[in-house]
Symmetry: C2
Subunit: 246 residues, 2 copies
Amino acid sequence: MKRIMMRVAYLGTAYCGWQIQPNGLSIEQVLNENLSDLLGEDIKVIGASRTDAGVHALGNVAVFDTNARMPGDKISFALNQRLPEDIVIRGSKEVSPDFHPRRTLSIKTYEYRILNATFNNPLRAYFTCFNYMKLEEDLMREGAAYLVGEHDFSSFCAPRSQAESFVRTVYSIDIERLGEEISILIKGNGFLYNMVRIIAGTLMEVGRGAYKPEDVKKILEAKDRTKAGPTAPAQGLTLMSIEFKQ
Amino acid sequence: MKRIMMRVAYLGTAYCGWQIQPNGLSIEQVLNENLSDLLGEDIKVIGASRTDAGVHALGNVAVFDTNARMPGDKISFALNQRLPEDIVIRGSKEVSPDFHPRRTLSIKTYEYRILNATFNNPLRAYFTCFNYMKLEEDLMREGAAYLVGEHDFSSFCAPRSQAESFVRTVYSIDIERLGEEISILIKGNGFLYNMVRIIAGTLMEVGRGAYKPEDVKKILEAKDRTKAGPTAPAQGLTLMSIEFKQ
């Protein structure tokens, strides 16, 4: 028995999210079915991040155990031949049998993309959140600075979270305008349920002038979800990478 | 009775193309149904370019006649409230009753996008043609230069074309690398069936070294479809704009 780790990229649009659901097709189910067919065993993957419906990934991570003789680094190529075009394995390798992607310290990087234009370009609709109000990225940057560091992020967590602690560390938030799009790149040691989307929703409110940048500090200190901005829609969010500290 | 012109953008992925087909949903059908509902009349649009299945547009043009009292420039806003998110009207206005978008001289601009990388990014799969072989854009530019001007493009036309003349004028072909993507931007006074996709397929062969740039001249002179490269897939193609010479 060996444990294999894979880097997984997907367009989340057609899926009900990572996790298996009774009504809807999940990334996890597609991977389990195709790996089981490929390796002739009942395979169950463990995902590093159970992304929500409509969220994309360029660098999610999944591990699974197998008795198959296929070398770990060849599995990604063989599996890609079977997968639909919206799921791609970027690489696979054998790892230690006790490696668990959710119990290993890691740095996760997410990107949230906003289409800040007057025209809701349908070619960008699957990947961006459309916001036609002029957003000032300087104000957004100023507001975001209050979130960097170790904080209790209760105000930026969906109420149905089962987290035991709301303390997380955000290493950096980089905000950049690329033509009509604004990219919010956020790195942290872990994120609460909907945390990146609530941060994005709050920073959009700052960008359009509904909140002042310094209100972000007050929102953080309130530890109250109702003080923050709305949860930005799923389609703007991409899990870019996970680096494990092993 | 007045004639309305609309600029139409769409993500072609989910559609069987512009033109109404017995088996599949077309852009034309979605526009006809939603305009008929909106205006309370039986509306039939005329498209400037009947794009193929999977081809996208940022600036296709449709006209239709209506007796409705709604001002021409308000129709786009009202129609957008009803359309699915992958079709967006960029604007509408009243035009002369004898304006016909396929019988008026125009300059059309198409973009063909190639993902030239080792990783077939699923977030780009709907918009690009994946080519993992290293493409040299300098060679592609050199080959493309032979196509600029007025030529008989028989070699770059699908056999099932019903065109009466194969002579077209290409005003410019601009090839640019943007990170892992190559953009081929092509302007002309009209394009034969699959012409842009055959040009893209041929230039990819030049880029990877299978043809020499000067072979493009020979292919053009041969007036024989079998001499050119393959037809590049539909999903890399976007109709960017149509400018009418009125």
